[in-house]
Symmetry: C2
Amino acid sequence: MYTEIFSQMKKQLGQLDKWLGTAAEHAKAKPFDPAVLAAARLAPDQFPLTRQVQICCDTVKLAASFLSGKPAESQPDTEQTLEELQARVRSIIQYLDGFTAQDFDGAAGRVVSQPRWKGEWMTGADYFVQHAIPNFYFHLTTAYDILRHNGVSVGKRDFLGAQTKRPPVT
Amino acid sequence: MYTEIFSQMKKQLGQLDKWLGTAAEHAKAKPFDPAVLAAARLAPDQFPLTRQVQICCDTVKLAASFLSGKPAESQPDTEQTLEELQARVRSIIQYLDGFTAQDFDGAAGRVVSQPRWKGEWMTGADYFVQHAIPNFYFHLTTAYDILRHNGVSVGKRDFLGAQTKRPPVT
């Protein structure tokens, strides 16, 4: 199911790209400086939209890298505008386009660790289910909620995107 | 991976139960009526906390039912207090406790449909990846974000809960 879930995450990043575009249009129509939205947050001690998008992007990028063994370039987190955030999102979609189902053969059994874990590790399966999926959706949804809270016209259908419904059997 | 992801969703519902408990303590300490939090929302045209929790619960309950063929009881959505929401969450944890890995054999190939789809259908795999997982995390995270926005002391660790880290290999 790794390939299907990464494919879904790629679709969700495409939706995030659209919400950011809708946010820019909203700022232009009011009008106000769209950078205000990029710096918006739901609580004074929670990350702003910029950081939510950056972490969302990093979560799926690192998961694809850890679970395939393919390298991922570090990105500097310098985005400050909605357009720059869209470029960051599109860079991850492009990165995911470089993977095939074969890249995730054996993903479940991989050893995943990070320097700050001091030698502790997780299986690929545990990392994917317990960290990558929840963390990706946490930051994706919080980015959506920040825009929603600030009056940007996005709804549940924009969140989920198109679904593969099949025609009635006649 | 169905069993692992349902197990993770059950864990996340346990975390949601804790956030609701922290929210009740926060209301008592300030003090204010905790029902204010149950009715709180991030935008005037977005669902309040009560509905976010109800839909989060229904999403995982219906997914487990659709993907196993086991029945699920309809619940009336009458919760108005944090304690009632906690009871709803716990009822779903209890429902999920009744499943075994065998119940999800063949889940990917099941036909999933709902009356409002007018005969259209999804495969179990598509339904799980494209609807159940994103919708569950959407409402779970929005419930968290509503509490976070209203000053309840919850953080990312409370969102993710415990992760299965393994000891260093010496």
